[in-house]
């Protein structure tokens, strides 16, 4: 095997090596540990970009771990969609890590950088794997790292939310295992491509079980994606997490969406008997509810990080409305919007941090406080992030929503449901705009100058301190990327279309993974 053939496993190997090295050098040479962590993220980005470029020609690369042939060994699959997700994950990680280093959020505990790398290991693995049990294992890797990252910095609020987050995810993992057990018992394989072939041969007696397995599996992914009614864990968890980490977590909910996009056409496609597209009828109503609940949360949120958390839920809902169509053009819109909404969510959390760092004990709460330093710049950043999150022009959310609206009109089998989808998307956009305008005007326009002595000395000291503008770099870069995603919408949607048709052409994946029949 040439070196380029081994590139497929690089996004898994790089963080796996960087994490223990960072752990070892962290105590003695903190700067070296940070450098290793940053270098690892940059290397992941380079590897992902090379894979993205290589996948553009439509070949599906597979990597057989330990050289065990496909349905028996674990196989990694790189197609266009996984290359897009790898690039997105590496980009977001670099931004989040950069922000954590600049704001010194990584200094609140010893193990930030190793945990961050393990998180990336889990994310990249989940995007690459072509084996269902391996997907479970990578989910666990990313979850256990996320528990550590979520609790980073500690404090009662984090611990309280942490217990709930861990309990919910342990239950989710158990359900994942039950679904896997059912699918293995029915098909005798765990390889996704192979399973897609074998579900067609299941006898009529077992069709009910197959349907249960399909719905259970998709429910677990919906839990990870925080789809209503399985969303309750997300706002509390994300709102109390260190903002740099929350920015990275913006991509974690997308892992659930990615898994739905990957698994449903491949395994529960047309040939799956009773399980054929089984989750599809439930996905659209759930997605619309998610969008509504998410943006209603944006409307009533008490502080910026809570608002960002609800915006993540709302964007997942909008995204799943498109996914629920299962056509090439709806999936194209979904993939384009997926990239956008991840970056927009990250930008919101980063801006919330920029604001909170300047307002002392007022933090990022959506109430009027004393004037703080660089309020205009911070306000500008917040406006840009809010424009992105709600989907107003000129940033890419507008194009994404436009694509979704356009694509859902002629989905076969939906009948008049597209009207509901339009209503949900447009109404939630309006609610979102009002919600962001409310918090924005309270924080950036109104100011309450407290009477002398009413402000605590630490507060007045913190408010008058000149804060460096360096912490605005990460949100600015994120918003610049969103602008670039908007300008490059032509090539981006072309790539997304190709990725969507590759996902729906399951036979090509089978040929690539199992070899020519």
């Amino acid at each position: 095997m040439s070196l380029t053939a081994h590139l497929a496993i690089a996004p898994v190997v790089i963080p796996a090596l960087a994490a223990p090295i960072a752990l070892l050098v962290m105590r003695r040479k903190r700067r070296l540990g940070i450098a290793i962590s940053l270098l690892s993220c940059a290397a992941m980005l380079v590897a992902a970009l090379v894979l993205l470029n290589a996948s553009a020609d439509g070949t599906i690369r597979t990597y057989e771990l330990g050289n065990w042939p496909a349905p028996f060994g674990i196989v990694l699959v790189v197609d266009r969609l996984s290359a897009i997700m790898l690039t997105l994950a590496a980009t977001v990680s670099l931004i989040a890590l950069g922000h954590a280093v600049i704001t010194q959020a990584d200094r609140k505990g010893w193990h930030f950088h190793p945990l961050f790398q393990f998180q990336m290991l889990g994310l990249n693995g989940a995007f690459l794997t072509g084996d269902l049990f391996n997907l479970f294992v990578f989910f666990e890797v990313l979850l256990i790292a996320s528990y550590g990252l979520m609790l980073h910095g500690q404090g009662p609020a984090r611990l309280k939310a942490g217990v709930q987050y861990v309990v919910v995810n342990i239950v989710g993992s158990s359900l994942f295992l039950i679904a896997l057990g059912l699918l293995y018992a029915l098909t005798g394989t765990l390889n996704m491509a192979d399973m897609g072939l074998r579900v067609a041969e299941i006898g009529p007696d077992d069709q009910g079980l197959l349907r249960v397995a399909a719905l259970l599996l998709v429910s677990v992914f919906a839990l990870k994606a925080a789809v209503v009614p399985l969303h309750l864990w997300l706002p509390r968890t994300y709102a109390v997490t260190t903002p740099a980490v929350a920015a990275l977590f913006a991509i974690m909910t997308k892992v659930g969406v990615y898994s739905i996009i990957r698994v449903v056409p491949q395994i529960f496609g047309d040939d799956a008997g009773a399980a054929a597209w089984a989750p599809a009828p439930y996905l659209l109503p759930a997605a619309m509810l998610t969008a509504i609940v998410g943006f209603a949360g944006v409307f009533v949120a008490r502080d910026l990080s809570e608002q960002a958390a609800y915006a993540v839920i709302g964007s997942t809902g909008t995204l799943l409305i498109a996914v629920a169509g299962w056509q090439t053009d709806t999936l194209t819109a979904a993939i384009y919007y997926l990239v956008h909404s991840t970056l927009a969510g990250a930008a919101l959390f980063l801006v919330a941090d920029v604001v909170a760092r300047r307002r002392a004990s007022f933090a990022d709460s959506a109430s009027a406080g004393p004037v703080f330093g660089q309020r205009e710049l911070a306000g500008l950043l917040f406006m840009a992030a809010a424009i992105a999150a709600t989907g107003l022009p000129p940033l890419s959310g507008f194009i994404g929503k436009l694509l979704i609206l356009e694509s859902v009109v002629d989905v076969p089998g939906w009948g008049d449901a597209w009207g509901w989808a339009w209503g949900a998307i447009l109404a939630t956009t309006l609610i979102g705009v009002i919600g962001f305008a409310r918090t924005g005007s309270a924080i950036f326009w109104k100011s309450v100058q407290p009477a002398d002595g009413a402000l605590s000395t630490t507060d007045s000291k913190a408010l008058s301190k000149v804060v460096s503008k360096a912490d605005m770099a990460a949100p600015t870069i994120t918003i610049a990327l969103l602008a670039a995603w908007s300008i490059g919408a032509g090539p981006a949607t072309a790539y997304a279309t190709a990725a969507a048709s590759q996902i729906l052409d399951t036979a090509s994946a089978v040929r690539a993974v199992l070899g020519e029949p």
Binding site: F133, Q154, S173, S174, L180, G181, Y184
Partner: protein, 128 residues
């Protein structure tokens, strides 16, 4: 009483107990519930390879009927992962209790020792 019935009812009882405990309000019971639930899942995964008796492992090419080794490998992985997760949540629940003074999963300030619980039960609710 077949083997299948025994295993299936064991899984069912474990799941029922696990879900009941996992829905309780206090962290220790929730942790116990999750543990019971994961036992049930492990048994279920093991049963996914069919319950067979007296089958040899894969070691000879002449044997056609052998015990499926894959579910055992899956169960082993699942046990290791759940073990780690359980250890983690026990420590986390303890830290959370020490830091917030409450062992309720939803973080409410509820009585946390048996004495206080008894006291709270004895005092009538104040009328408003």
């Amino acid at each position: 009483m077949t083997l299948e019935f025994l295993v299936a009812s064991a899984i069912g009882i474990l799941v029922a107990g696990g879900i009941y405990l996992a829905l309780r309000g206090r962290t220790f019971q929730v942790v116990l519930g999750l543990t019971l639930f994961s036992y049930a899942v492990n048994l279920f995964l093991f049963a996914a390879g069919r319950l067979t008796l007296d089958r040899p492992p894969i070691w000879s090419k002449t044997v056609t009927e052998y015990a499926d080794p894959l579910p055992q490998a899956l169960v082993l992985t699942a046990i290791v992962i759940t073990f780690g997760m359980t250890a983690f949540i026990v420590v986390l629940a303890l830290r959370s209790f020490l830091e917030t003074g409450s062992d309720q999963v939803d973080g409410d300030d509820a009585p946390c020792t048996l004495d206080e619980q008894a006291k709270a039960d004895a005092t009538p609710e104040p009328h408003t």
